[in-house]
Symmetry: C2
Subunit: 313 residues, 2 copies
């Protein structure tokens, strides 16, 4: 039997799914978007699972596992400029487990939920034939005219990213803070075109935005905010990616990538510095008519290949 | 390490969960209930997983697996007298699988979704270390004053059940139809006290209602609507439960158990016959001040033991 890739499989399963008038945005954005009759607001819906051995190892601290399981879908609510309301937790447990470990998993999850006023509204436990599995469903809300989709990037927009990129697996992927407050502030004060949270890596997630927006992009490689972790890895590990390659292709950054009209780029940078002095915001390029992603550095320009990966010397 | 039971574990994890003003009903009912600002309506939230080897075997038809995965949480929306809106699907897949089988799983799920105007709004795929896993998150809505909770049973209420009980594992558990239309009709036309869908078996689920309502019940054993499957099993299988024991304790009936004030019992039965001529509705007893469940038959009364099981000669 020929095994399809994950993207092929999702495309196959998403063909001809049942719809109804309430569903405004279905599969293919950070969250589903529904009009359930809330005056002036839309409902956001997201589900996300972390699996032992895939998203965390048995060496991760239990508090970090609970934190990450909730932080991931919260980051998707942030990517729509939404406010999370409540979560349901599906807990898949192996036949043997330590209840004390579970208490700590929940402590990590609950602390993050409280910080963002998210209710844990229930869920269920089930048997997991392998390791631990935590699947979280989230609902949230966003003002009707402020929902940030992947499809809103337009040629001429400036392209921004929060924080620093690359090297997340050295630790950040287990304790990152979803950019909820920042995203809402952006949508309130600026015309956000497209927005996405970085989970597959900058190159891959930018491609999702460009496909949805039918546009291209030019990235300024010298402007990429490379994380200290990515620089350390490049220096200390034989065969590691260069820092720039790590910033482009490492997954699980969970920062926001978004566009605004170019006229708002400078006012945004000024206002951001006042509002969020501890979090970097960087203009990393611009949206073009495309197609594709062009990389610009001191030596000139070249095209990023289709698979989201590029080899640097 | 001492392994807690599922109920002990859930009680432990549900202690001190984060709440917020939107959350009206958290863990412990068929769905979570939230006030998200829809005029006159509340939001219902449910998640439910089916796992290969637990909720279905590799012998089940793929269409039935998809049907059951969605029908189970739809039955919980029905138990609140709600209307489902949209679902997210988390698909856990073993490393080797047949995409053609998945198409059939989705065909079964999508057909049921279309019948009830439920949008499949997205979801995700993930690796499952064991067999296939399908976890479905559902949102729905219910009128503010019509949400049917488990806690609404009062001494003197008449106790009703739809359909027939017992023997579901012979087939019904894979192709049952959630009682959505019937539940909404009930809430619209009668004063439903408590309602629950039967998943753990009549005795166990009735106990959930009684615990939530701080009440007791008297069951008329001779009135229980025993299914043909339960009668056949009792006749043909050595060591099988008696038909009445099967009706009391077999799981996965997915019928509605509910109470109404006793003055409405006869009008309800009359109106039901006109509205739903093909589906049985049976008065099986009444709510008492309790505590506990008393069983009445021709030979007198006795108390059902705490574990929901009872041995009949």
């Amino acid at each position: 039997m020929i095994k399809p890739t994950e993207f092929e499989l999702i495309a196959r399963l998403c063909k001809d799914l049942p719809v109804n008038p309430a569903l405004l945005v279905g599969p293919g954005d950070d969250c589903a978007v529904l009009d359930v009759g809330i005056p002036g607001e839309l409902l956001l819906l997201k589900t996300d699972a972390v699996v032992e051995g895939v998203h965390f190892t048995a060496q991760a601290m239990p508090e970090q596992i609970g934190h990450k399981a909730l932080a991931r879908p919260l980051s998707d609510i942030a990517a729509m400029a939404g406010t999370p309301t409540a979560a349901l937790v599906t807990l898949g447990l192996p036949r043997e487990f330590d209840p004390g470990v579970l208490d700590r998993v929940y402590a990590g999850m609950n602390a993050l939920a409280r910080r963002h006023q998210v209710a844990i509204a229930g869920g269920e436990t089930t048997t997991s034939p392998g390791g631990m599995l935590l699947s979280i469903s989230l609902i949230g809300k966003a003002p009707k005219n402020k929902v940030a989709l992947r499809s809103g990037a337009r040629a001429g927009h400036a392209l921004f990213v929060t924080g620093e990129l690359g090297g997340s697996l050295a630790g950040k992927h287990l304790d990152f803070e979803p950019r909820l407050e920042e995203a809402r502030w952006l949508a309130r004060h600026f015309e956000v075109g497209a927005m996405i949270d970085l989970s597959d890596g900058l190159a891959g997630d930018l491609r999702h935005v460009l496909n949805a927006s039918k546009a291209g992009a030019e990235l300024l490689l010298t402007s990429l905010p490379v994380s200290r972790a990515a620089k350390l890895a490049a220096r200390n590990r034989v065969g590691a990616k260069t820092p720039v390659a790590a910033a482009l292709t490492d997954g699980e950054d969970f920062e926001l990538l978004f566009t605004v009209p170019s006229s708002q780029a400078v006012p945004l940078l000024d206002a951001w510095k006042k509002e969020f002095s501890k979090l970097r915001l960087t203009c990393i390029g611009r949206i073009t008519t495309g197609p594709g992603i062009v990389l610009r550095d001191k030596s000139g320009v070249r095209t990023l290949n289709e698979h989201g990966y590029v080899h640097f010397k």
